[in-house]
């Protein structure tokens, strides 16, 4: 059965039991920022990261999604898959080969059409990243985006109707209820 939830792990290291999040839906990693955790999907757009991920035990069963040029180079590696063509990339001004892995993960989460996207370890300190996150949120009004962080909560996403912010404690409570 298709899950309503999907968790995106951003570029920042996460101190949370992601296995818990995997019980309510798929988890997408952004490159090799959290190498000790097992993921369903992982995105990356640099060869160095991909090689590192291919040699990491934690990514053995993950689907590694890379842009087409990189995919052509690693096509014969099991587990390496080509990123789908995301709609509206040009309007966001996002180049999949140059943007951050967390943006790729977010676009993949939206592409997979889950109703609620949890953003864990997602770096919004960079204004470009924040703008891109907001653009994707505006373009997908039917999807709810929940930014998970340690207290104090951020108010950066409060201007959007589908943007929420909550703490890891609330996230754990939600997982416990949804399981």
């Amino acid at each position: 059965m298709k899950s309503a939830y999907i968790t995106v792990i951003g570029n920042l290291p996460v101190k949370f039991d992601i296995e818990q999040a995997r019980k309510i839906g798929p988890v997408i990693a952004s490159a090799n920022a959290n190498k000790s955790i097992m993921f369903d999907y992982a995105t990356c757009n640099t060869e160095t990261n991909l090689q590192d991920m291919l040699n990491s035990a934690s990514f053995k069963d993950s689907t590694l999604l890379v842009p087409e040029t990189l995919f052509k180079k690693y096509v014969f590696f099991d587990g390496v898959t080509c990123l789908p063509e995301f709609p509206g990339l040009k309007s966001y001004d996002i180049d999949p080969e140059k943007c951050s892995p967390q943006t790729l993960s977010l676009m993949l989460a939206v592409y997979l059409r889950q109703t609620i996207v949890f953003l864990v370890g997602y770096d919004i300190s960079n204004p470009i990243e924040l703008t891109r996150l907001k653009s994707i949120m505006v373009a997908n009004p039917d999807t709810k985006f929940m930014f998970i962080c340690n207290p104090p909560r951020t108010y950066q996403l409060d201007d959007l109707n589908n943007g929420f912010c909550d703490t890891f404690i609330k996230f754990q409570e939600l997982i416990d209820r949804a399981k």
Binding site: K72, K73, V75, D78
Partner: protein, 121 residues
């Protein structure tokens, strides 16, 4: 314990022996010798793949005029076959098809032979 389903991700087309290529069904009805050669070729391919492949493979039963389609679970097996085709005196159509596990689409790429190996375009 439930067994994990086999997913054939990689696909190549192995050309028939030169005399059997691009023969219509009508011609094949009149030439049982060609049909016999094609059946033996398919059997040989299956036997060789049983020896060289490390993971699951499938020889497609669908008849095609140009060759026989092969499906591989592992990319390494697929690569090995491309590299080792002179050893078996086989000719592979320079086209690689890969099923995208996220979109379920069959993506096709050109195989380009270089002095150091193969690249995908």
């Amino acid at each position: 314990m439930q067994n994990k389903a086999i997913t054939y991700t990689y696909s190549l087309k192995l050309m028939w022996p030169a005399v059997c290529r691009n023969r219509s069904v009508e011609i094949l009805k009149d030439r049982p010798d060609l049909v016999d050669q094609m059946n033996k070729f398919r059997q040989k391919v299956e036997n060789v793949l049983k020896i060289v492949c490390r993971k699951h493979f499938q020889v497609d039963a669908t008849y095609m005029m140009s060759g026989v389609r092969l499906w591989f679970e592992s990319g390494q097996d697929c690569y090995d076959l491309i590299i080792r085709q002179p050893e078996f005196e086989w000719e592979i159509q320079p086209e690689l098809s890969v099923i995208n596990s996220v979109t379920s689409q069959l993506q096709t790429f050109q195989i380009v032979y270089t002095p150091t190996g193969v690249t995908i375009d």
